[in-house]
Symmetry: C2
Amino acid sequence: MTGWLAVAGLGPGDEAMVTPEVRAALAEATDVIGYFPYVARVAPRPGLTLHGSDNRVEIDRADHALRLASEGAKVVIVSSGDPGVFAMASALFEALEKHPDLHDLDIRILPGITAMLAAAAHTGAPLGHDFCAINLSDNLKPWELVEHRLRLAAQADFAMGFYNPRSASRPHQFARALEILREECGPDRLITFARAVSTPDERIQTVTLGQATPEMADMRTVVLVGNSATRRVGRFVYTPRSA
Amino acid sequence: MTGWLAVAGLGPGDEAMVTPEVRAALAEATDVIGYFPYVARVAPRPGLTLHGSDNRVEIDRADHALRLASEGAKVVIVSSGDPGVFAMASALFEALEKHPDLHDLDIRILPGITAMLAAAAHTGAPLGHDFCAINLSDNLKPWELVEHRLRLAAQADFAMGFYNPRSASRPHQFARALEILREECGPDRLITFARAVSTPDERIQTVTLGQATPEMADMRTVVLVGNSATRRVGRFVYTPRSA
């Protein structure tokens, strides 16, 4: 039996956004590994072992997946959104670096709909021109680097998408991010808070930077900031193609 | 009969990357509108009219779709990739701005797998940390703005994805973009040329900026540039989560 390992994106929550490619991998898998709530989205069946684990154990999870696949299992690591966007793909390659003997393993990354782009779709087209994606968490990088990137992104007039804007353990940083954005972009720039996109709890709220408060975001929120040309049309927000 | 309009992303080419949400919209549609090669991906059936059109007529296409939907048709505008990333969603909202009478029309944007993220998945995880997406075409914006964004993105140490890197009508600009990147990032930075991702013609090539030549890209190529920490592991390229 030849094992393989796929890192698959389940999209932001709606099952109708899971690609057939990901469904096919799950249908063939012997083992599914991931953070509990993502593993809970996979239906149990005979011959499939579900391995749910806690958050922040990405490298352990990747090591476990590599070991199972090297022993012949057909393993899917499930990620929300797209595994390549602030998710499990990078952690897998970090783990793979330590195992040169496994470099020839059959490994595939299966893309999914990332939260930022689902949020953009449900808002209109706020990322309709050049944009950037920034993880606001400083768990793995210094906060100074986040601030540096925010300022340069604003000066480049990128539209922006932020992941992990705010958590209970670091409530002040998103307030600081909003201050920087107001300094660089002024109070009239549009900002969208998209919570639990594509789930029954979805809530999308667009305000100006002058009106935005830190409490509008939590860890289930993706934040989108327009560029200087982003505007409203009816109930939508969009960025023109010429901006 | 109540009309509606969906702008749907067909993904980069592989039918296994088309979401069930997009399939369902196509199954209900009376009219499918889009650039010829994208419309050609939709199977004909009784009751469905296919409207293929040429490239660079995005606003005409959007006007046509809005008119049909306002008359009661169920219309899908098909886009490759994700409609919100350098595709038809922005053009639709530009057209909608001129028609305040249609602002209450049932309009939905259905996300898809955008080429940059499919290319990243097939390369490893080169966009595994903060990144930006830049359209290198100056059809709709001045080239100086492209250069400005490239420099600031490099100074922010973003990984980068470029759409429309090179065309026959503007062969020198991508050479200039590579020069700027070499100035800002040095010759050792990794750059990936991903052509026709997820199609039978797929070709993915990773070199250093010092080795990169303009001819490595054409209009079917998405270009990915790593940040300062991006590296190879086995046959893959990835950017660590801490970078």
